[in-house]
Symmetry: C2
């Protein structure tokens, strides 16, 4: 068994060692660029942690881990185009640096690169790995589409929101772990259980994100607290508040959408969140998904002590402050 | 053995039978839309023709044929965004109808759909099929990138141009046939020969396109003759002319780039093509690639009469008038 940080180191080294064609240069440079912008390498680490859980070979799981990280970064390139985002991890986004058309195409070829990496897994599990990967990739596209559509809708339900974050964020966490488990030799039941663990953890993680945006410690959060409020982002907190707010406060809340005084806006919306105990409701929902995740993990048929690295990481993620 | 039109019918029926998820609707509707815009279904037909050549099962090759057609249509969606094209086969392009962000994402999920279709081939050939498909998909992205880059360059050589059309168009023809051959049970040598046939045929086909644009019969061509000239498109003919033209005529040619009188522009550029026998040079080059294609086909280790459907189709394509 390896620690998460050992695995992150293995991945970081492997990413540094990845090389791409150089012709045409502008097609491939964005791949090295975004792959080396950093990040915690959580998704590929989860692939290796899952393989390790079933005493699988890390060497065999590593290409799949790199495939997941490559796929994730491909989605970042295309998402940044759609979101018109100028910066990614403090650096220019690919479409800002190379232009939108170039970024579309570099993303496309990056998807091919992830498929190429995936074909390096043992032939005996190739079909199963691909089925899991394709279902995952499809879910991620669906989640991004829903996220875009929600921006212009005013009737998004909590249920729809949870489904969106499940698709956009959580299926990739589940898929990464399931792929690691398959390569690591898990049986179907255990592979599905680790998927459930990952998916539920992913949803809990995203709800935590929504909570931290409002209630994070400004000293530790790393981003501006209240960023989602300023952007009128439909988070769990906002949708929950809209569901339970009385008519009078609903008017007050609606008025905030156009409030140009951002500090006042954050203050007023946060006051409403506090008044309606929205944080507690969000925490409860988050704990629900976390409980589901741990129930799945606990049902996996390997000695409990082998699960400690994974449960430790999950707890660490859920207690994070940024 | 089946005729090309029998195979095209099988494919057309199978495409009509394809169904996609309906959630989110706007993610999947563009897939059905573009897949049903029509077209000659040449690429998937070539998959089946190649499988048939080696007495392979068409049922087994059909998902791979659909994967190739799906992939091809995905590239059309993204290319149309990059080219800012309003129309595709006389209908609105996907990005015109659904918006650019939606079109990027529908293209992405379509790439996943083609990968899903590919996993339906026999497990015994899955790895080989995927390797061929991924190399092909990568080449197509490279070709599109080069094509975009050539637009703003004035020093594109004939060699670079041939390499671009090879990647953008011909590797998919070769790749489609190689995948069909692999599924059909061809050995590696024959699979590579049919790839060579397809790739060289693809290059010849594209050169033919360049020639037809200038010398096609206006009654039969279907598009405006001289469209490439109006658009200042760097075709084989233009690049060849630029290579051999004398200084005086080079000035005349350069002046045409900005000529707003399109009929006069077509007339003058065509006159230069005629004066320098550029058509003959292009036809010679095209025949070169066609000869290479037929040499590869003839070297394939199956009875010659089994190759007649494929050679017949190739000849038909090369004698086309539109």
């Amino acid at each position: 068994m390896h620690t998460t940080s050992e695995l992150q180191e293995i991945i970081e080294k492997a990413i540094k060692g990845l090389s791409y064609s150089n012709h045409p240069k502008n097609l491939y440079d964005p791949i090295s660029y975004i792959m080396n912008l950093g990040g915690k390498r959580l998704r590929p680490a989860l692939v290796l942690l899952a393989a390790d859980l079933f005493n699988g070979s890390l060497d065999e799981a590593l290409p799949a881990a790199l495939a997941i990280e490559t796929f994730h970064n491909f989605t970042l390139i295309h998402d940044d185009i759609m979101d018109n985002a100028p910066l990614r991890r403090g650096q220019q986004t690919v479409h800002e640096k190379w232009g939108t058309n170039n970024a579309i195409l570099s993303g496309d070829v990056m998807m091919v690169e992830s498929n190429k990496l995936l074909t390096k897994v043992k032939v005996s599990v190739l079909k199963e790995v691909l089925d899991t990967f394709n279902a995952t990739a499809q879910g991620v596209c669906e989640g991004q589409q829903l996220d875009m559509e929600f921006e212009s809708r005013n009737d998004v339900s909590i249920e729809e929101y949870i489904d969106m974050i499940r698709l956009k964020t959580a299926v990739l966490v589940g898929g990464a772990m399931k792929i690691g488990a398959i390569v690591g030799g898990a049986n179907e039941a255990d592979a599905n259980l680790i998927y459930d663990f990952g998916e539920n953890l992913g949803i809990a993680f995203q709800l935590q994100d929504d909570i931290l945006d409002v209630y994070g410690d400004p000293e530790k959060f790393g981003k501006q607290v209240g960023g989602d409020i300023i952007a009128n982002k439909k988070t769990y907190l906002l949708l929950k508040l809209q569901e339970i707010v009385n008519t009078e406060d609903a008017v007050l809340l609606d008025q905030q959408a156009g409030n140009k005084d951002t500090l006042l806006k954050i203050e007023r919306v946060t006051a409403l969140y506090n008044q309606y105990d929205v944080k507690d409701l969000a925490v409860e929902q988050m704990r629900n998904y976390l409980d589901k995740a741990f129930a799945a993990l606990s049902a996996i048929n390997v000695p409990q002590h082998q699960k400690e690295e994974i449960s430790g990481l999950a707890n660490e993620l859920m207690n994070r402050e940024s």
